[in-house]
């Protein structure tokens, strides 16, 4: 029984992932474009830079991740868009890797410092009240970890970027490639 329940849970989760493809392939004439997991896209006229996560041909939806820096915290949100509500997708084409490589390290400080200031004040008060200096450690580990995790994607988002507009509606629309 102990083995069966995790197996069922795993099976259900795995079945869900089967519906979701990590790539989104579209074509027009001889041109084929593949959007892969992690690539930056913009949807319709929205200026937010989103990270493509997957495409589900069953529900005809794409999943994206919105990661944005908010000084005191980093917002991470998973969004699902139905393709019927998307007029166009803009795909980022410039090489963001090299820039992210340069910006990743200083960007950690951009994430960590504001949080550390606030966290430092809070834990400072807590240390004074409780008298346990070790109380600050989990907070600092969390802040530094958070900085490490979010620094890379936010560094990749930096810059105006070069975007390819792919219209999914109208006479000049790109078609979703069949499996």
């Amino acid at each position: 029984m102990r083995i069966i329940i995790p197996l069922i849970v795993f099976n259900v989760l795995y079945a869900n992932t089967l519906d979701n493809k990590n790539i989104f392939e579209i074509s027009r004439g001889n041109n084929h474009v593949v959007i892969q997991k992690g690539q930056q896209i913009k949807i319709n006229d929205d200026k937010r830079k989103l990270f493509f996560q997957g495409y589900s041909p069953v529900s005809n939806t794409i999943t994206v991740k919105d990661i944005s820096y908010k000084v005191l915290y980093t917002k991470r949100k998973k969004l699902e868009y139905s393709l019927s509500e998307i007029d166009r997708i803009q795909l980022r084409l410039d090489n963001t890797f090299n820039r992210a490589l340069l910006l990743w390290y200083p960007n950690i400080f951009v994430h960590v410092v504001p949080q550390a200031v606030i966290g430092g004040i809070i834990t400072g008060i807590a240390v004074v009240i409780t008298g346990h200096p070790n109380i600050a450690n989990p907070m600092m580990i969390y802040i530094v970890g958070n900085g490490f995790i979010n620094s890379w994607p936010t560094a990749k988002k930096y810059g105006k970027g070069e975007w390819l507009s792919i219209s999914l509606k109208g006479s000049n629309a790109w078609k979703i490639a069949d499996e």
Binding site: G29, N30, N31, L93, D94, N95, E162, W163, L164, N172
Partner: protein, 261 residues
């Protein structure tokens, strides 16, 4: 203390030198560097003129000179280069006034009413298609028969390092080589950054002197000045690619495409 001051002085001197060179206050004789490019451009233009069988009187004197200088080179090599170059270039001729435009590789262009800015890569006369690139690694193929309007960026892209030449017919019917030289923004950014850095360092040095500091304020001032001026310049200068008057709109129904075949 003396070492850190010497280091700061060297940093200063380097920043000033870079600033003077990049803002063209000090110019180097660099024609030799571009000689190869010029030669290829001459071969290409001669190939274009041979291709369209222009009468000799229409040949610009600059091209004649170019032909003379190239007489000594191997003819086999030249024909190879002509073929190579003509495969990459697209020649457009206006059916009404006879204007000729050679679309070179890396020329920025827009297709129909789409808002994508591509870079021209090559023309395939057999399939009547053009290959364009977008971003760092995407290539797209467009059928010329499906293109109504082709917009070509006339202003030199500030990030490019080569000049743009077009062969145009002037009002008196003579062919002339037009080369556009627009100040490069990246040079300006570096130049302004250096000037900003210098100003910041002077302010920092003044503050350092008052507080008997170790020169750290000078360094901080230099960095702050560089950062502030480049950010301000970026904010004020528009990208020429977005200026509508930089684009030449070509209605392909009025133009014919020349090809090697």
């Amino acid at each position: 203390m003396r070492t850190s001051r010497s280091l700061l002085f060297c940093l200063f001197l380097t920043a000033v030198t870079i600033g003077l060179v990049e803002t063209d206050v000090i110019e180097f004789q660099n024609k030799g560097v571009h000689a190869q490019t010029e030669e290829i451009a001459e071969i290409l233009l001669r190939a274009i003129l041979n291709q369209v069988n222009l009468p000799p009187k229409n040949t610009p004197s600059e091209l004649d000179r170019g032909q003379d200088t190239l007489k000594n080179t191997s003819s086999e090599l030249e024909s190879g280069q002509e073929t190579l170059l003509l495969n990459d270039f697209m020649l457009l001729k206006n059916n009404i006034d006879g204007e000729v435009i050679a679309v070179r590789p890396d020329t920025k262009l827009m297709i129909n009413e789409e808002d994508n800015v591509f870079q021209f890569k090559s023309h395939n006369p057999n399939e009547n298609t053009i290959i364009v690139t977008a971003g760092s690694n995407l290539q797209l193929e467009y059928k010329l028969s499906k293109i109504n309007i082709l917009k070509i960026l006339l202003a030199e892209d500030y990030l490019q390092t080569h000049s743009k030449k077009t062969l145009n017919k002037n009002k008196s019917g003579e062919w002339e080589l037009i080369e556009q030289q627009i100040p490069k923004l990246n040079k300006k950014i570096i130049g302004y950054g250096c000037v900003g850095g210098l100003t910041g360092s002077l302010l920092g040095a003044a503050a350092d002197g008052q507080h008997n500091g170790d020169g750290s304020l000078m360094l901080a001032g230099c960095l702050m000045g560089m950062w502030a001026t480049t950010t301000a310049l970026n904010a004020f200068v528009s990208d020429p690619a977005v200026l509508s008057d930089s684009w030449k709109e070509i209605h392909l129904s009025q133009w014919s495409v020349w090809s090697k075949e």
